[in-house]
Point group: D3
Chain length 249, copies 6
């Protein structure tokens, strides 16, 4: 069961509203690297979990936290759109540039569909898509999917940080970036635990499948599809082309 | 900010697992009439709200409750898929009917992608789509969208109730149906309040637009596009074709 | 069976072509609040109707009218893109600003895919999606979905009206707004008729389900998920938290 | 402007309702080869047309006819679902096979979302998608897109014809197949007219682009990407690998 | 089986990076008229082919070539985004116009999600959609679909050519346009071969269906849905309204 | 540039055609865990790569190999549908069960749209979606996304292996599973190399962002959102809740 209070997890402040930044923030709400995705992904993994209860609990804890991140970002979108409302009517007449700003640089649906509110879409107005919610029934697969989500999510957040010089927005993003740092740690810690202290022990995923049933001559060989003898692929002396495998097989 | 505990809002019990009913339940999770939609819809409306705080609070309260409904339904999907796992390997060999049940009547992705867990999709495996999340910035529009969501949602829930004879599932659905009953009431109560006790006073929505600017000869006239004099449209003596308008204009 | 003539339902005139406004108008064609949606929604409801013939006829009449609205808006998009064609080649060379206008503020696919014609997409180029077409088999649900569509549609149309100072466009929108006013009336009139003169009598929707089978202690109780005693939810003295229910039960 | 009467373009009769055939018919309504697509495609091409009025008129005439085909097919879906309704409650209890038929072989959303009515989706419940509506601003491209749509549409209709032994359904499909035969003719006739009596004269499409600006050594050469000298690609003596080009250049 | 080398099929050079043109180029990568679509369409048709091996081989040859076109265009997108990276941080502060260029005129996801790389999306950021991949099992339908794809694709490429004055980009597009010229030829050559030298002999598609089973009075009649006697449809003396049919039936 | 020959990478044999297994195989072609996704993902990462050439080469090598996997699976789908064709017409008449098999257990579009060929869709007929193609511009993020894709892909392949008792299909899947084993190794090997022999050194991703700018008190703290003191979250003594972080900070 879920509960809430009326506070944000961390303060959200916008010094100078910017509809274009509001649009960019949408990627962190409804984009594939965004918070709706991780929220639903962790919660579905929790609800579908059949293994040790500590993993389920952890997923519920963090999935619930991600709800609070959607909340913070939606609030930030609204604050970045604040003030645009009244100016719309006043300045449109004979003033193409503002029109351009609203319709062009920003997301026109922020005004047309949302009345200056956040949407469940990405920075191009493409709606959030439930196919992104990975819950595979295999804990190692899921943890990798989660680290990936936090890695692409943190990459996105740092790019948003670089795009703005609004001190309030930078502060909020610095918080979200910190959380992504932690979340990368925690999903990897589960992988390490699944591998009894060595992440590579979980390989190959899923390790419930008897490797003897693989066509084993292809299990550890790099396939070179480059047919040009004059410009061969680089990296022939690297770990993926020679030497022992990571999982020691 | 959001919180959780480890309890469900209401008990979820499945007496006889049924992968086909698991598939049907997905409509109530990730379909357009489902709980992910209302959850995000109410929460986005809350986060985007600029009016009286009581509406925002109410939206937060109920949006958070809907999280608990997704949780109940995901749990129900898992329980309906329970037991299918081991039998898959055992009985597939030389046994087409089971294969048919898993791949045909049920959602094959429940096994292939979810490992017998719930997905963020509808009963046909079509992913949840963020475009369904209505938050228009106009309170009356939003409340109508919410009543509609609860009306189609309750219609869906009663159909699921009719499709199953599993006592546990019927009980869970009877709870969700009750909540939909209440939620229809509460969104309509806001509409009534917006209309100072008479819902029709909010018409036309949005009522901020000066009706004098409409092309008024078309504002209250029914347009008949039926060109067949021998089989005219019925209902010519009804309120939409004659008499005073609902809003008294 | 359907027919047409070569006239528009109402005149469409653009005084000063504007590719950015063409983009904004797309929301009213292919967006979730747009005319393709209501057109198909009313027609599917008509074709699926099994009740009194007057409702079916009414849905056919208005669904057909909405075809004419798509036609008007597509015409308006074309007129707003008019004149852009020849200038593209002439001025692109060494002239970034125009490039920006075409690719940025407007929808680049208006030129790239449409050759300066309207598309079946929204203001962000996201294609029309059939999932928006609600036809539930329950007349009250459908009527609520229809009022909602007209409420969000009229909200959109008034915002488009505010965004432009083109007299021709304002006139066209003033007509479409008037039609939305009427359509809100007519769907609500059906709801009122279904409730024998009192809309609340249709509650809960669907009212074919025996309420005795609900878990009734939850049918009329507001669930407060706010756990903060210091900042409780407002509205505790409102109709959704206390007093008689709207449907008198 | 559009009009309707209460008749179908051609009679629709179902001798023995079949929910599974209802599902298959959905492909002809909301699938990429279906009637919503051609209806909107021809109408958008008409509304966007800037050339000779006879093409615009023809597109309007046929686009309007396609509306009547959606109507016929939606009616057919309803008739195929007829009778299923009451049996649902009666026979579900203790009767897995029927459950399987409704949820498995048929589209469960026909019941869950549509109340036994047609949907704006394909045979797998995937919603109609506006991206399929081709209106390129180039008449030759559009005519090719239209012939293709009628070719894949007629292919679909003949397969539906083969799948059913219901005399009523076969008759309806025999009508729709006949219309597809004609529509293939008419779009090709425009292409022939554009080529002054020889379709190949319209090549390459668009022929407004000066071919001298192409990198001409690649304009009429077949590129063989097969690198296996022992199993070379067949067809080296065919018109696409040698001899004069179709357009005589 | 597939192979590659490290060369491009044709040189790709960008003289002056332009993020807005990078966005426009995306339509040719991930749009419905783009190279991912034709690549997958030809390859799926090849893999699904059951007829003469020369058609299968031809489809494989050209499908593989299209891979090289995606590669060229992705390279072009990267080059057009080159140099934008460092300037982002430097100039955003106090410099709205650049912000506008990145977020507005260009695709913000090129930076936010792609780190200045190409995406599998169209010019509006709408993802590539597998529904566009036509492989109908009917060779004539497929060839028409392929000519259409090359016609709309070449139309797109010539528009991109017109939009840019970058000599490198014009050269690359002049190559791609030449390939589209050829590909239109080759698919039509198959159609001609299927019709024993006369393309019209393949009509109606599919010609495996016995035309005697059509409702033949509707097989060659133009249906006029225009009801206005004062403004009748033009073209009553054209080949689609009178005279012999194209297929001589 | 890309090339092909007419061989498959590994033999594909189907002993007993099975349309339902054909449907399940679609998940491995056009599903989020499937081969189109990894093919495009690796190729886009290669084309977008700006770092050491050995990573780019490796991505090209493996992306090209994945093309061969799509080819194998499409071939497998066709073989599983083989023989169904003629029986369709023969047995439909008066034979509901087969109808059920084709429309229900299998994907009806395999016949209706594909003429018994493979589609660019998943096991529910949901089209491949380009949003799944991750190419972030950050090598560590991309490698994690790639390991995840191979982990969920191998999980899917082993489930398909369990679902079938067809020796030919088991052999093909045993090959694909082996390749997934290898691909997991190779992407992890790059991560290890990026971390100078210790994968954890790449944390946090992206490590180009100065951690001093994070709100550091939240960078390594687990946030417990469980409010129930009686049923606290398990795992309080685990590496994600206490002790040194994985990256030693
Ligand atoms: Ca987060
Ligand atoms: Ca609910
Ligand atoms: Ca309208
Ligand atoms: Ca038709
Ligand atoms: Ca090409
Ligand atoms: Ca693979």
């Amino acid at each position: 069961m879920f509960y809430h209070d009326k506070k944000l997890q961390y303060k959200v402040r916008v010094d100078k509203p910017n509809p274009q930044f509001a649009r960019a923030l949408q990627q962190a709400i409804g984009g594939i690297e965004g918070e709706i995705r991780v929220c639903l992904q962790y919660l579905f993994q929790a609800w579908n979990a059949r293994g040790p209860v500590r993993y389920r609990d952890m997923l519920l804890d963090t999935g619930t936290e991600e709800m609070a991140h959607i909340e913070m970002l939606a609030t930030a979108v609204c604050l970045n759109l604040e003030g645009a409302s009244s100016s719309v009517i006043d300045t449109i007449v004979g003033n193409d540039p503002l029109m351009e700003k609203i319709v062009g640089g920003g997301d026109p649906r922020h005004y047309l569909s949302g009345g200056l509110g956040a949407l469940a879409s990405d920075a191009n107005g493409v709606p959030f898509n439930g196919s992104w919610v990975v819950s595979s029934g295999n804990m190692a697969s899921d943890m990798l999917a989660n680290v990936t989500a936090e890695a692409t999510g943190r990459t996105l957040a740092t790019r948003l940080y670089e795009m703005t010089d609004d001190a309030g927005m930078k502060d909020m993003l610095a918080f979200l970036i910190a959380r992504d740092t932690m979340h990368q740690q925690q999903w990897l810690a589960v992988l390490e635990e699944l591998g009894q202290g060595n992440l590579y022990n979980v390989l190959p995923i899923p390790n419930s499948f008897p490797q003897a049933q693989e066509v084993q001559e292809f299990s550890y060989a790099f396939v070179n599809t480059n047919i040009d003898p004059e410009q061969p692929s680089a990296g022939t002396n690297r770990r993926w082309t020679q030497g022992p495998s990571l999982d020691g097989r």
